[in-house]
């Protein structure tokens, strides 16, 4: 697969931004600077970026509890996101949402979501709007290997087929839902087949390889955008951290994490692929790395200096046109 250089550079930048955002967020959580429950996406970057590089601002995504990567890939402002994680009133959600609820309507980000499989039904709604408006948009929802066992996820898949809407279901199989392996939680032997049995094509990808995800997502999105109803992407991937920050990860095999970081790193894979094709030089990638590091540093500096919310802000933003105080 050959992509324009500009696109290659951007894809790498996005993946690197996610990686560094997450690693830095991890450090700040360990430092006690970031409160709440945070789930890191490190290791899965190629999935978010491979999908979102096929989307425009008008297309929508809806994410999960592990949402930072999807939001950055879809164009959320990194500084606004870091401020949100820090709970500032200048955060993307004014400090009201935090890690699990990062959202940006302007960028078509209908939110990270703290409820497992909360997103797919909502995404079907966005897809339905696109179908009614005939505006050619698609609506993507991300789910994990655990999320696909939730009733709402099945309902959404069936409804999308019934209404023939341009919904794309991206399943990121990182093999674990919290501490439980997919081999336990998904009863059948073939999750891809179970998904396809709902009546739409599912394209398989290597979630450590940007190009693989990009291609699979391109097919799924083309299918959906073309008015053929929903489609799916099924990517095998791995998270480099625990389920949440602080997870002792008793479920890992010996050496599993080392192996993942060594052999399933999308950044390494991307660099290797560029080295082979010569499309982009390692120096160009190094330059991006430096820019990303600077951006992340800046985001943390700004987030730490950003204003804190004040108590009066608790009751605003509940409704549009009557104040919560009087309810």
């Amino acid at each position: 697969m050959s992509l324009p250089k500009e696109k290659l550079l951007r894809a790498y930048r996005q993946m690197k931004t996610i990686r560094e955002f997450e690693e830095r967020a991890h450090a700040e959580i360990m430092n006690g600077q970031i409160a709440g429950f945070t789930h890191l996406y490190t290791g899965q970057e190629a999935n978010a970026v491979g999908v979102c590089e096929n989307l425009g601002d008008e297309d929508t995504i809806i994410s999960t509890h592990r949402g930072h990567g999807h939001c950055i890939a879809k164009g959320a402002d990194v500084i606004g996101m870091m401020k949100e994680l820090f709970g500032s009133s200048e955060g993307l959600c004014k400090g009201k949402g935090g890690s699990m609820h990062v959202a940006d309507m302007e960028k078509g980000i209908l939110g990270a979501n703290g409820i497992v499989a909360g997103g797919p039904p909502i995404s079907v709604g966005a897809a339905l709007a696109a179908k009614i408006r005939k505006n050619g948009r698609v609506a993507v929802s991300f789910s994990g290997d655990g999320s696909v066992n939730q009733g709402t996820c099945f309902e959404a898949m069936n409804l999308a087929v019934v209404l023939k809407v341009p919904a794309v279901f991206v399943i990121e199989n990182n093999y674990y839902s919290e501490h439980t392996n997919i081999s336990y939680a998904v009863g059948c032997d073939d999750l891809k087949a179970r998904t396809e049995s709902f009546g739409f094509p599912v394209f398989v990808a290597d979630g450590a390889d940007f190009f693989s995800v990009y291609e699979a997502a391109a097919k799924a999105i083309e299918h959906a955008r073309g008015g053929n109803g929903p489609a799916g992407v099924f990517a095998e991937t791995g998270r480099f951290h625990g389920h949440f920050v602080g997870d002792p990860q008793y479920y890992r095999a010996d050496g599993e994490l080392d192996d993942l970081r060594e052999n399933s790193c999308c950044l390494k894979n991307f660099r290797a692929s560029m080295a082979e094709s010569g499309d982009v030089s390692q120096e160009e990638l190094d330059a991006i790395d430096a820019e990303v590091m600077a951006l992340i540093e800046q985001s943390v500096t700004e987030a730490k200096a950003a204003p804190r919310p004040t108590p009066d802000q608790v009751t605003s933003d509940v409704y549009i046109n009557y104040s919560a105080g009087s309810a």
């Binding site: 949402g97 709604g125 709007a129 409704y319």
Partner: protein, 335 residues
Amino acid sequence: MPEKTMRDAINEALHQAMEADDSVFVIGEDVAGCNGSPSGKVGEVGGVFGVTSGLYKKFGPDRCIDTPISESAIVGAASGAALVGMRPVAEIMFADFVGVCMDQIVNQMGKFRYMFGGKSKCPAVIRFASGGGFSAAGQHSQSMYQVMTSFPGLKVVIPSNAYDAKGLLLQAIQDDDPVLFFEPKALYQEACEVPDEAYTIPFGEAAFVREGDDVTVVAFGQMVNRAAAAIDALESDGISCDLIDPRTSSPLDEAAILESVEATGRLVVVDESPPRCGLTADIAALVASKAFSALKAPVQMVSAPHSPTPFSPELEAAYIPDVNKVKASIQEVMA
């Protein structure tokens, strides 16, 4: 002015809203009906209560959308479409079915705006047939609005007559916040004068159904007529009552209730839901905290007992507050 049933008034509101704004669509189980069926008579049904009848034929399959039995997906489809600019009106057949889609209502639709820092709007309406009166037993007779009132971010509407139902639904559809619209199913066939043209009734403004000096009676939905009958029956005893129908439980017209109690000094609250953490307690507590000094007698609450709705007609009749129970409470508060 022509008389219309509540069903027809709501149906008319839907027709008018859909004519006026092409971002309005309806979605739910059998809101069109006969999809996929060999008769080919798609659109002949219009919902199991007939409330959406005619919409499919007038507005077509993209704006009157049948679904599988998947309430969570229905609510999600509405809220997702609303987030990107549509104004969906979803039908959940019975209010009891909140049970199978509560997360999508309460944790998703109702919280988007807040969690997203005020940067989204979700103008979706979810309609439910609510309440008792059909011998429909434990899983098809609940109000559920008392529970939904508990959740910030949702507006909760409970019309008590055809006129209000039309105006409140038109308001709900043009409202930019998510609205839950509970239609007391026992009232679908009740008629009153309803103008042909479109009009709205603002949320948070109670209706004064009766005006009087001795007692403030607050009643919701199906109970408003019964409370009115009780009040009328007591007129000859020289008891005169304000009858307040809040029409929306969230937002609530606190001022109307408090002002009335300031004048009467007595409160009776009537609702058909069970008593615990319900609207009768909610209003009684409001008054006991904000109009306490005006109170001359203990607040009276008339509700269903703390039990599920029974099937047998006799049991259901004893379960749902009737005119006599309201009368007795008014007399008690006057004693």
